[in-house]
C-alpha cells in the first residue's frame, strides 16, 4: 500500500519523459519568417494569415492547444538554420512552417529531413526541386504557397496569347530568381516566343537606372521577377525613364504590384500585368471574409503571402485533426496532408503525392477601382499542378535545372534540349 502510494507520488516527476504526456501539451509550430530586411513585408503577411486561421478555430485542434513560436531569419540562410535548430532543439516544436526566402528554405531543408520534422512551406519559398523527385526532394515537406515555375508558366501562356514574341527579362540575382525566370523561359520557348535579353541586378541594387536604360529596344514586353524593395525601386525608374510608356510589363509573382506597394506606386503601377496564385479581388465568400478580417487586423489589403499563411495553417489543422492531434507520429501526420482538399481565399486547394498543392493561377492587371489601385483578375487557369502545362514525365525529360539556364535563355534550342 505504502509502496504504491510512493510510486504514485513519484509519477508526476516521471511523466515528462513519456510520450503520452507530450501529446497532451500544445502542438508547437515554429514559424521561420523574415521580419526585418528586404523580405520583411512578406514575412509579416504570412504571419497575419497564419494567425487569422488559427484564431478562427480557437487555436485548438484534436484536443490540443496550438502554440506558435515565431523567429526572424533576417533574410539570411545561416540565421534561418540557426533559428530552425533553436526551434527544434530548445523549443521542441513538432512542425516548422513559414519560409519566405528560397535560400533559407534550402538551408533548413537538409536539417529538417535529417530530424524528420514536417516542414510546411506556407511562405513564398518557391524552389521547384523541394517538391519534385530529385536530390533536394524532402518527403517531410508540404507546400501551401506556390512553386517558382507555375506563375512563370502562366505568365508565358498569357504573354504569348497576347502577341508577345520577343521579350527582355529582368530578374533579381539569386536562386529563387533563376528558378522563376527559367520556368518562364522554358514555357515561353515551348510556345514559340524568344527571350532577347536577360538582365540580373543583384538583390541589393540601389539604383536601377543603369538596368532600365539598358533594356533592349523594340521588344514586345518586359518580364520581371524582382521581389521586395527591388521591384519598387525598379518600377519607379522604369516609369521615369520612359520605358513604361513603350513596353508592357509582366511581373511574374506580382512582386512589383504587391498590394502594400500599390498606394505609394500610384499611377506608375497602372496597367502592369502580373501572374500569381491569388488576388485580393477574387469574388468568393471565403476570400471576402478573409479580406475583411485581414483589413481589420493589418489595416491593409492582404497579399498572396497572407492567403498562403492562412492555407498553411488550415492544412496543418486539417492534418492534425485527421490524426486526432497526434502530430508526433510524423508518418501518419504527413500522410494526412495528401488527401486534404479545402476551399481557401485563393480558390480550391488539393495536394499531389509530393506534398505540393494544386491550385488556380490568376493573371491580374493594375486598375484604378473605387477602392483605389487594385490587381484585377483578367484571366485564370484552374487546377494548376506543379508540372503544368506539361506532364511530370515531359518536364522530367528536360535535362537541366532552371538555374543552369542563366545566361543562355536567349537560346531557345538550348532551353528546349532534352535528355
Amino acid at each position: 500500500m505504502r509502496a504504491s502510494w510512493i510510486a504514485a507520488g513519484l509519477l508526476p516527476l516521471m511523466l515528462p519523459t513519456t510520450s503520452s504526456f507530450a501529446q497532451q501539451g500544445p502542438i508547437k509550430i515554429g514559424l521561420i519568417l523574415p521580419l526585418s530586411g528586404t523580405f520583411a513585408p512578406n514575412g509579416e503577411d504570412t504571419l497575419t494569415g497564419t494567425r487569422i486561421y488559427f484564431d478562427s478555430i480557437g487555436n485548438q485542434v484534436g484536443g490540443r492547444k496550438i502554440e506558435l513560436i515565431v523567429e526572424d531569419e533576417q533574410g539570411r540562410p545561416d540565421v534561418g538554420l540557426t533559428k530552425a535548430r533553436k526551434l527544434v532543439e530548445n523549443d521542441k516544436v513538432q512542425i516548422l512552417a513559414g519560409f519566405v526566402s528560397t535560400a533559407v528554405a534550402l538551408a533548413v531543408n537538409d536539417y529538417a529531413r535529417e530530424k524528420k520534422i514536417p516542414m510546411v512551406l506556407s511562405g513564398d519559398a518557391g524552389a521547384n526541386e523541394l517538391t519534385m523527385p530529385g536530390p533536394l526532394y524532402n518527403p517531410f515537406i508540404v507546400r501551401t504557397s506556390q512553386n517558382g515555375r507555375t506563375p512563370a508558366a502562366a505568365a508565358a501562356a498569357f504573354a504569348y496569347k497576347n502577341g508577345w514574341r520577343k521579350v527582355a527579362t529582368m530578374t533579381s540575382d539569386y536562386a529563387g530568381g533563376f528558378d522563376t525566370i527559367g520556368g518562364f523561359a522554358q514555357a515561353f520557348c515551348k510556345l514559340g516566343g524568344t527571350i532577347v535579353q536577360e538582365q540580373y541586378p543583384p538583390i541589393n541594387t540601389n539604383d536601377y537606372g543603369p538596368y532600365v536604360t539598358n533594356i533592349q529596344s523594340g521588344v514586345d514586353g518586359v518580364v520581371t521577377f524582382l521581389p521586395g524593395s527591388a521591384g519598387l525601386k525598379f518600377v519607379k525608374q522604369f516609369d521615369e525613364l520612359g520605358m513604361k510608356a513603350k513596353y508592357p510589363l509582366m511581373d511574374i509573382f506580382g512582386q512589383i504590384v504587391y498590394e502594400p506597394f500599390l498606394p505609394q506606386l500610384g499611377d506608375a503601377a497602372l496597367g502592369i500585368y502580373s501572374t500569381l496564385h491569388y488576388a485580393p479581388t477574387i469574388q468568393t465568400p471565403e476570400n471576402q471574409a478573409f479580406v475583411a478580417e485581414y483589413m481589420k487586423r493589418a489595416k491593409r489589403i492582404p497579399s498572396d503571402n497572407g492567403a498562403d499563411g492562412w492555407a498553411g495553417a488550415h492544412a496543418i489543422a486539417d492534418a492534425a485533426k485527421a490524426v486526432d492531434g497526434k502530430v508526433e507520429d510524423t508518418e501518419k501526420f504527413l500522410a494526412a496532408f495528401r488527401p486534404d482538399k479545402f476551399a481557401s481565399p485563393k480558390g480550391n486547394i488539393s495536394f499531389d503525392k509530393y506534398g505540393q498543392l494544386i491550385q488556380s493561377m490568376y493573371v491580374r492587371k493594375v486598375e484604378k477601382t473605387k477602392e483605389g489601385y487594385a490587381n484585377v483578375v483578367v484571366e485564370s487557369f484552374d487546377n494548376v499542378d506543379q508540372f503544368w502545362p506539361m506532364t511530370e514525365a515531359e518536364l522530367e525529360s528536360y535535362k537541366y535545372r532552371y538555374s543552369e539556364l542563366k545566361g543562355s535563355m536567349t537560346n531557345c534550342a538550348k532551353v528546349l534540349e532534352k535528355k
Binding site: 521580419l35 526585418s36 528586404t38 509579416e44 540575382d173 525613364l241
Partner: protein, 283 residues
C-alpha cells in the same frame, strides 16, 4: 544617345554618393571617428522625410526639417556619448556600431518593415527628351543639388572663419586648441553637419534608393567605398570619388553585368593598391 543617358545615370548616382560620403569624410577628417552610424542618418532622414511628405505633401519642407532633426541627433550623439572617448578610436567605433543597431531597431519599430520609395517633388516629377529617349528631370536636379552642396561646402571650408578653424583642427587639433579655437564646439558642429548631409542624402536619395530595414548598412558601405577611393577627410575626394564610383558602377553593370556585385568594389581595390590613402587623402 543611349550613352548620354548612361553617363547622366552615373553622374546623378555619383552626386548622391557624394552627399552620402561627404559627412563621413568630414567627421573622420576632423575627429578621426569612423562613424558607423552614418547609414542610419540616411535612413532616419529618409523616413522622417517620408512622414513629412505624407502628412504635408511638401517635399521642400521634408528637405529642410528632416536634415535638421538628424543634425540635432548627431550633435547629441557627439556631445553626450562620443566625447567621453575622445581620440580613443576603437571605443568610439564600437559606440557608433552600437548606435547603428539601436537606430535600426527604432526605425523598424516606428516605421515598420515595409520598403518605401519617397515620392518626388511635383516640380521634378516629369521628364525631358534627350534624342529619342526620356530622362527624368529629378535625376538632373540631383546633379544640380549635388553641385550646389559641393560649392557651399567648399565656400564654407575655404572662405569662412569657421572653415579656417575647421582646417586648422584637421591639421592639428591640439595646436588649434592652444591657439584659442573652441575645438569642442567645432567637433559638435562638424558632427551635426555630417549627420545633416547624410539625412539630406536620405531625402534626396529616397526616390531612387528608397528606405527599408537594411538600407542603413548598404548606404554606409557605399559611403565608405567613396571615401576610401577619394581619400578620408577630403571633401574634394568625396566629390571626385562619388562621381568616379557612380560612373564606374553604372558602366560596369552594363559592360560586365556578371560582375554587378563587385563593380563598386573593384575600383576601390585597384585604387587602394596604387594609392593606399585614396586619391586625395593625406593620412
Amino acid at each position: 544617345m543611349i550613352w548620354v543617358i548612361h553617363t547622366l545615370n552615373g553622374i546623378s548616382f555619383g552626386m548622391l554618393l557624394f552627399l552620402l560620403a561627404a559627412g563621413l569624410s568630414l567627421i573622420y577628417g576632423l575627429m578621426k571617428i569612423l562613424n558607423l552610424t552614418h547609414g542610419s542618418y540616411y535612413l532616419i532622414g529618409a523616413y522622417i522625410g517620408s512622414t513629412i511628405i505624407a502628412k504635408t505633401g511638401s517635399f521642400a519642407l521634408a528637405l529642410i526639417v528632416a536634415p535638421l532633426v538628424v543634425a540635432l541627433l548627431g550633435a547629441v550623439m557627439e556631445r553626450y556619448f562620443l566625447r567621453r572617448f575622445h581620440l580613443q578610436e576603437l571605443p568610439q567605433t564600437l559606440l557608433t556600431f552600437g548606435f547603428l543597431f539601436i537606430f535600426a531597431d527604432l526605425t523598424l519599430w516606428i516605421w515598420g518593415g515595409d520598403p518605401i520609395v519617397l515620392p518626388k517633388p511635383a516640380a521634378f516629377s516629369g521628364s525631358i527628351s534627350i534624342g529619342d529617349a526620356r530622362y527624368p528631370t529629378y535625376r538632373l536636379a540631383l546633379i544640380g543639388v549635388g553641385l550646389i552642396v559641393a560649392l557651399i561646402l567648399w565656400w564654407f571650408q575655404e572662405r569662412t572663419r569657421l572653415g579656417a578653424m575647421l582646417r586648422a583642427g584637421v591639421d592639428d587639433a591640439e595646436i588649434a586648441g592652444a591657439l584659442g579655437i573652441d575645438v569642442s564646439l567645432l567637433f559638435t558642429l562638424v558632427f551635426a553637419v555630417g549627420a545633416l548631409l547624410a539625412a539630406l542624402g536620405g531625402v534626396l536619395g529616397g526616390p531612387i534608393i528608397g528606405a527599408q530595414p537594411g538600407a542603413d548598412f548598404e548606404v554606409m558601405l557605399l559611403a565608405f567605398v567613396v571615401v576610401i577611393v577619394g581619400g578620408l577627410g577630403s571633401l574634394r575626394g568625396a566629390l571626385i570619388g562619388g562621381l568616379l564610383v557612380g560612373l564606374l558602377d553604372n558602366f560596369g553593370k552594363i559592360f560586365f553585368p556578371e560582375l554587378a556585385l563587385f563593380t563598386i568594389f573593384v575600383p576601390m581595390a585597384i585604387i587602394l593598391s596604387f594609392r593606399p590613402t585614396g586619391l586625395f587623402g593625406r593620412l
